[in-house]
């Protein structure tokens, strides 16, 4: 049975065609990285999968059931979404924010019960956020806040976790910390689809990489197969060199710089 299947997906913002025929199927829990230049449709694809945007045509199937047949609440029981790290105006505690992940399971007048509290606690312990559960979400560092958002998606018991550039604003330690955590989650039985800017982070952490260009997936497969100089040149219009990482044996991408004498002095 496929976990996630996207079939001939088209989407446009007004007249601006953003997704032009996306097709892929994922059968097992793993970490899928989406890379591509700005405006290639990465975030839009994620928002279509999450059901926030409605495709013009084509279909999305979650466990072979059409996403269009899900109610908003049902969707939220399958799909968790971790936004870009962002500032926050109101002073909810971390615990309150994670508890919001229980929303899809509560009836309108139902109070959060012991079961919900247990799930929230587990989610916060996995993400190592329990220690600042009473702290305001505003008082946290970017990396801590991002972990709280991941905990919320776990409290949602999501089977598919969508992440839109979750580490772009974080320093390298937090980037690695967050992505390692997410990688562990895939081993616990969650499918993660993550949009990343950094090709090398994608190469290090993802089991499969989609390279997007102009609303299409132009290459898909394991980092070793997909990260090739010609493909990156096509997607980003950038010359790169690939270096073999002797420790991890995965490709490392380095932009080709012009030689010193080719720089024009303006």
């Amino acid at each position: 049975m496929s976990l996630l299947k996207v079939e001939n997906l088209y989407f446009s913002y007004g007249k601006n065609k953003v997704l032009k025929g996306i097709d892929f199927t994922v059968y097992e829990n793993k970490m899928v990285g989406i890379i591509g230049g700005n405006g290639s449709g990465k975030s839009t694809l994620l928002k279509n999968i999450s059901g926030y945007l409605k495709p013009d045509s084509g279909s999305i199937f979650i466990k072979e059931r059409n996403l269009g047949d899900f109610s908003i609440k049902e969707k939220a029981r399958y799909i968790g979404y971790v936004p870009q790290e962002m500032p926050y105006d109101f002073e909810f505690s971390s615990y309150d924010v994670v508890m919001m992940g229980r929303m899809p399971f509560l009836k309108r007048f139902e109070q959060e019960g012991e079961e919900d509290e247990k799930i929230v606690r587990e989610a916060m312990e996995i993400t190592n956020t329990w220690k600042f559960k009473d702290k305001s979400i505003n008082a946290l560092s970017g990396g801590e806040r991002q972990r709280v958002y991941i905990a919320r998606a776990l409290a949602q018991q999501a089977q598919i976790l969508l992440m839109d550039e979750p580490v772009s604003h974080l320093d390298i330690r937090y980037q690695v910390e967050i992505l390692s955590l997410v990688k562990e989650l895939t081993l616990k039985g969650i499918l993660v689809i993550v949009v990343l800017h950094d090709i090398n982070l994608a190469s290090q952490f993802c089991d499969e990489i989609f390279i997007m260009k102009e609303g299409r997936i132009m290459a898909a497969g394991s980092p070793k197969r997909v990260l090739k100089a010609d493909k990156i040149k096509a997607a980003f219009d950038l010359d790169v060199e690939l270096i073999h990482n002797p420790v991890s044996h995965i490709p490392y991408v380095v932009p080709t710089l012009k030689k010193m004498r080719e720089f024009k002095v303006i």
Binding site: K47, S50, G51, Y52, I72, K73, E74, K75, A76, R77, I79, G80, Y81, P83, M86, Y88, D89, F90, E91, F92, D96, V97, M100, G101, M103, P104, L106, R108, F109, A139, R152, Q156
Partner: protein, 331 residues
Amino acid sequence: MAKLRRSMFFTLAILALIFTALISISLGAVKIPLEEIIAVFTGSGGGTNRTIIFNLRLPRVLASALVGLGLSVVGTFFQGLLRNPMADPYVLGISSGAAFGATLAIILGLGLFGLSFAAFVSSLLVVFFVYIISRSGRKISMNTMLLAGIAISAFISALISLLMLLNHEEFNRIIFWTMGGFNITSWNTIAFSAPIILIGSSIMYVFSRDLNVILTGEETAEHLGVNTELVKRIILILGSLVTATCVSIGGIIGFVGLIIPHISRLVVGPDNRILLPFSGLVGATFLIFADTLVRFLLRPTEIPIGIITASFGGPFFLYLLIRNKRNKEGM
């Protein structure tokens, strides 16, 4: 621990409400002592006091409590929904719409009921217009709504000024109405407004958990299973209805719907399930208090209640802001 603190705050708020209401009933041209009030309510009190309480003071206290509650609840919700701390119940043009209707009614000499009705209808018309402008397809843009509300308010204010200029003899009445007051409250007004304000606020309260999530972003809320567009619509409609009702019976009482939510948030925190009822209680108490001062300060003349709310609310709010800033810097 947090729960204990919470129930303590609520107990205090309810006690303050009862206390203020009793004081307000007791004070006035004729002072009625507390034992008399209790006697009247238990059915044994004498004639004159009974008439004063039931015909004059009680309706006023109830009306100011209802309006205070309504404006504070709507203010809390609009601040959350628009995710803007400057938002208040009037932000979508309700106040200017009501003022326009009231001005027309005064100029046309429509009488008391006509005035309330005109204010009620014209404020709803303005909000509806703002809503239509801000809708694009399935979604409503909150930012467009905010800006459209400001633009339309400015335009209507210009029209009102023009009308006042052309009808100079009604100038005072119009100004007095816009600054608000409860000097003409009757049981009829309460019979009309109480159900709308109380039922409207209660239905909004049902969505307080959804609003919590919407505060973290509309898109996030949708991903947590909240039908944001539906919630937005319900709150906008009910909020406008409640605000229009408040304005039609009390005039445009400023500041209550802006500062009471903030003050309450500083006390009980951002969770709307707690904040909303607390805010309503504090707002009701505050307006009863303000209305008591209205009758008391320049006896025998009454001053518009808007002057009280702004002159008390403004400085107190500034004090809270400064204190809050200090606390944050101290951390």
